[in-house]
Amino acid sequence: MTDIVEYVPLVRELHERAAKLKQPVNGVFELTSLCNLRCGMCYVRQSGGDKAPGVRKELSASQWLEIAGQARENGLIFLLLTGGEVLLRNDFFEIYEPLTRMGFMITVFTNGALITDSIADRLARCPPSRVEISLYGATSATCEKITGVPGSFAACRAGIENLLARRIPLVLKSTLSRFNVAELEAMRQMAHGWGVPFYASWLLSRRPDKQGSEVEDYRLSAEECVELEATDRASANELREAALSEKVPDSDSNFYCKAGRAAFIVNPYGDLNVCSLLPEPAARPLEIGFHNAWMEVVKYVDSAPAPSPECLGCRDRVFCGRCPAWSLMESGTLSGPVPYWCEIARARKKRYGRPADPSPIE
């Protein structure tokens, strides 16, 4: 009567099931937008003026717990705590510890630099299901060039070791950019040296709030992205299958993810949104109740326009990862083509497409 089920397929199946029922099983709490590092490509961090007047006030610990309690009543199970840097909140444990008694599978994203012995001890008393830490490089020079903070490489390594010493489940990852892509292999080796899983991602998006981030300077070219993908067996296989299946994605649905059907995000100011890259419709759970706010998100996604005619008619579409969030950031509408994705899709098609495929007229 208790079944041991493989974790990843089970989680996927639960999300499918939840999406049909519009049950918000997956939630992100962006506890703060403040960060101790200053990565140029970041899409969240608020810089210097964060304490300046006019900046919205972040939710208090009790407000987060109020939202969590209501979200739980509505079926939330997988909860990600992220920032900014969550450990910059002095009251982090006033939020975290009660959450661990509410029946959530909790993941914590952090840059690791603030995980001292005493923080690690406190986490180990009621550990999350997983901590994910970002590596910015395999050397202090590269890491600190990106983070802009001297000493952050050593601090992050110490944080990782503090967690490992307490058997807290850990995953390492890296966001690749022009400045650290050369150290990908070395980062992978670092992770393997610790016996920890590692994954990398490299699709850098702009900031949804359109404040200055230097994403263009950091982004890899489409060819470089596709080259990297080819080194990652899982994504290369997926793309080969896409090429073989010739199946064009479900043509009239714009959202192909679980956002707004099984997933949501709450930003530091208490707005309930579709996802971190699509900060709409800014429903207010603390004012109208979580259920009503979630329904606003569901409605927002349900009533999104179809992809643009260009995308619907596009021959590279099976190779494209455009979604409404990318469209909004890069084209200002929920459905327009995203030039960066067009380039990637074209490069993928060149690599994985069948030779017999007629190439699109340029």
Binding site: M1, V5, K20, L21, Q23, I77, M102, C126
Partner: protein, 88 residues
């Protein structure tokens, strides 16, 4: 017997899951899927229950014979005891 407070039942549609709480997260490394009878018994175990009480509740709820219900309840309890999830 009664369930311990180290796991919490959550549902997605008809699917019931036991989510580990507190330090239990480290031992379990995941979550447990319960079938309908399992989750029914788990809910009953919020209170102190005897084996007989559980069996007759299962008989009543699922309209099965007492023997079959007895076997099911025993298998389930064995699982829970092995994992240390109930206090006898």
């Amino acid at each position: 017997m009664k369930r311990k407070d180290e796991l919490m039942l959550q549902k997605v549609g008809g699917q019931a899951l036991l989510i580990p709480l507190g330090a239990k997260v480290l031992d379990m490394n995941g979550m447990v899927v319960l079938n309908t009878t399992g989750s029914f018994i788990w809910e009953l175990l919020a209170e102190e229950r005897s084996f007989e009480e559980l069996v007759s509740a299962v008989v009543e709820r699922f309209a099965v014979e007492a023997d079959r219900a007895g076997d099911d309840v025993r298998t389930f309890l064995d699982d829970l005891i092995r994992q240390g999830w109930i206090a006898l």
